[in-house]
Symmetry: D2
Subunit: 334 residues, 4 copies
């Protein structure tokens, strides 16, 4: 990102909000509100809008009733109006623009586009800062909302992982057109086969990951991830999921990539949700992408239980293989 | 920082390194190496160079033998060579430049300057990335150095707090000349008396704080702070300090400002050192500075033991009051 | 306890249940149920019966409406019916018996008595084992009740601390008549002034403490203590109390006595409640009581904020001094 | 254990010490001393004697050079001399006595015996209480030794798990002859096939477990377990093992049996070692053994990675199957 003499693009501030589809929205809401401890701030006919207690934006998660689970619109916040304009021009130049909308709940004018794999995204700058109602006001002036102590009580959204038929194409789009840093990569077969790429617009290790869709689908979600401050909070999440019949797919374990401590569960609608802590910050302006080959990547787990086969086979929406299975020599875990 | 239509300055990437003076350098080294678990990577006649296992730079802490404790040079890394040039020009324009040096161990050409209060600083871009020797190589490819499990085993440097006769002047310099974000502030007497200001060039809550020097000194250090990933690590630090006769001045407690969980001790040379975790990230490009007045500020502690009087009276080097004591109506804690 | 040739008494198994008085029972219930996460299992006209998720007995805490806060009946479970008989005989022989009752909710025949200071106690053997209703059934077969993840979610009761005009007399009663082990002691003035004694009938460090009542009252409560498994849970309790306006009197800090990590708050009724973790088990049959003198005792805090004056001055019910203040040379903290 | 009218046997206080054999004693010592943070207190020609910082006995682990890994002598402390006599008589009556020895380092006269499966054990009462040398003296008067903060820094020994050809016979011996409580059991095939039994003489959940030896061996060790106070310490152990090339066989995960949070590794000599926390105490004098059938037992893991096949196939010393494999319908994990 930071060649000497070339100024890096830093027009996107951070991941803004993620929309998840659910065929059982009430149950999905129970999972995010009653177990993860998020708060509902708004609702419309088919959608509920939620937030973590530490998110400064009004809403960072939108749950929308749909026939099948998966990811809806992924929103990115630009650092300024000029930055927004610059990114819109770049996206249009790539021919991936959809057009402007007024802005979903809590956000100003937003430009919608697709990534090369077809995931719907948008970029915006203006937004409504959250003001907690009295019963949710924190006693900490710098905390946007009360820490309620309900269930896992995730602090904020962290990142999402998307599947892509062509990881390289999507990764290049994120780097070149959006200006993201490439934090880490898994590349097999002597550097020729890009299995997964982890990218970010901020100091957060990755805000989006692209991982190969071994079933050859399009626009699918691997997982959405929420942050807790301590590893012990991840363990507590495991206790809460186990007591409430939530399927724990993997973890608690530690990733080699990102170094984070994690727990993967499935919310009742079928989407894979990660409770996540202790990833490292990347603040080097000339970060050298860490690239893992087959041997170095191993199982993708630094320590803790191995990832199950479902971890590469299942994504939302779930599909039958649309193309002959690609051979993936090892687990491209996230 | 981000007025609409005005692009923010983001030329400094992060705090690079801090130099601490110690009248008992061997004992100070024992504290940072044997108790905090940092690693010595280099030494010269009068200085030892250390690092945290998670720091990507070669050295982030320099301990220098001196008659009295205090802070030496504070180094800031620019995001690029053009960014370095821009900041050097701005500093010169303010009349605070000192001049170029070749660069201390691990860093390229560095431009030295003073902040308005007289603390010595420098800005640089080029640096040597750390390569661990065999016995310190981590089994994690993305970790620059082995996690040795020795003592507190701090991950990385986080921030430092400096005293200043005139907080506003130094805060403005950091904002206007260096391009820092003003994260939080304590302002008393109806908004007229600036007690403390917390600033950062990155998503880290603050990389430098300026707090009023009630003794009217110049160039003094309030504390230097090191990061651990979990609150339990802070508690473990308390156990280790208590067993080794290290003076714990305050904590473990939780700040209201920054929300961080902390422990203040004094290293044998006399400098105040903080073990720190769980502060929140600031990623909003239009962050609205949180300003605390007397009542809101309270004791500066969200919960946990109150801060002792020494917390505002003592800094390094320790001095007798050089001016009549300023009346500070409440603790300007950090 | 275990002189060679003399078999120790081990007739009491553990602390069974504690009754607390509250002038604001609804608010007190809110504290224990909504913040501490205990469960209400029964109620009568003036009392609510609660339990921790890990307690095997049906109810371990009874909250009773009363004019003033304080402790009601303290129940001890005998290891067997013969053991119950032996202790009843011993209590009668001391002239402190009150008589048999049928047994409060969940317990069989119970013999009531007073300790020398006048605290009401009872001893019983038979009890109803808790069977969770469907919605509170745990997915862990060996856990009596679901871990709900509500608030602090304390696991179980741990101990209580009682004030006494004459610590030695009450301590001797607990040792000689009930058969408790004397775990630790604070004795001042060259071993002549017994300030506090910590006793237990089990491997738990102490199940009851007697501490000198500096106001010369009778039958008063210093605090009641609830266990959590990890130190991080204590910190989480501080967050929850701070957000809900609960007065935190001391901690999070670490005791020297018991080594435990603690947080003292006041429930709305006025009783001092401790959230407690990491005390050490005592399994030595010939445990040598650890005795602390003035100098060794220090502030009673191993690390963390000092205990406030209220910690020795306040107990429930609160009283004006009924006798000239005893001089206590240092804090007899628990 | 506690039938009404029948007084329970409580003659054994707790597990005293465990001897482990190692073919690479220096490497095994490195594991226990440098990684687990135990302290060497004594050594003889072929053995080193170690302790945890919280153990009150002088030595709780003996490492002995041997051709093959495995367990040597397991020592139990009697609560008194009369209790010791009673147990010796009971053991002799069962025909399993070996005879008196003077006592190994730190212990008085000890009576050696075998359990029915042939594991060597001994029972004793007198022992030398540990007195730390100056450099290892704790600043906590009630802590026998300084918390050094080295590596995992386990607090104390917790339990061991032994394989047995006939679990029922060994379990009955522990209950009837030694007076242990049967905490939990795994029994398959409609209650006819005893797979594993967890027993204790104290409030600790289990001090010894007997699990079926599917290879039909004798006197073998499944694992030895060491306690840490917080779950975060278990995670830290995983970090330390991963950085030092120690094979992590399973975990960090949570047992259903005992509810404990655990990590299984292999020390360099080949013995399986568990770092263990958060098991529940059993203080009920009439504890009703929790019995798990095939379905309830499941994988033995409450949450976290599944146990590998090696977990039932491997024990020390490792042997080829001496009898046709017994069919074990599910994992008899500990």
């Amino acid at each position: 990102m930071a060649e000497v003499g070339k100024e890096p693009i830093r027009d996107i501030a951070h991941l803004g909000a993620v929309e998840l589809f659910s065929p059982v929205p009430e149950r999905t809401l129970w999972y995010f509100r009653d177990l993860l401890g998020m708060e509902v701030v708004h609702s419309s006919d088919r959608s509920a809008y939620l937030r973590g207690y530490g998110d400064y934006a009004t809403s960072t998660l939108k749950i929308t009733a749909a026939e099948r689970p998966g990811v809806g619109c992924v929103s990115w916040r630009a650092v300024s109006l000029p930055a927004l304009e610059r990114r819109v021009e770049a996206i249009k130049a790539r021919g991936l623009g959809v057009g402007w909308i007024d802005g979903d709940f809590g956000r100003g004018p937003s430009f919608r586009f697709h990534d090369p794999d077809g995931h719907l995204m948008e970029i915006y700058h203006e937004e409504t800062r959250y003001r907690a109602p009295d019963h949710l006001r924190s006693t900490l002036k710098n905390l946007p909302m009360k820490f309620t102590g309900r269930g896992v009580n995730v602090r904020r959204t962290d990142h999402l992982a998307l599947l892509a038929k062509d990881v390289a194409a999507n990764r290049e789009f994120a780097q070149e057109t959006l200006g993201f840093r490439l934090s880490e990569q898994v590349v097999f077969e002597g550097g020729t086969k890009e299995i997964g790429s982890w990218l970010s617009s901020s100091a957060v290790h990755h805000e989006v990951a692209y991982v190969v869709d071994i079933k050859g689908g399009n626009g699918r979600l691997h997982h959405f991830s929420l942050w807790v401050d301590n590893r012990d909070d991840v363990l507590r999440a495991a206790d809460i999921f186990a007591e409430n019949g939530v399927f724990i797919e993997a973890g608690p374990s530690r990733h080699n990539n990102s170094q984070a401590f994690y727990l993967y569960s499935r919310e009742p609608g079928g989407n894979r949700i990660e409770v996540y802590s202790s990833s490292f910050l990347i603040m080097a302006p000339d970060w050298q992408t860490v690239v893992w080959n087959e041997e170095e990547r191993g199982t993708g787990v630094y320590w803790g239980g191995a990832l199950p086969a479902s971890f590469i086979e299942y994504a939302t929406p779930d599909i039958a293989s649309s193309t002959p299975d690609q051979k993936v020599p090892a687990f491209p875990m996230l």
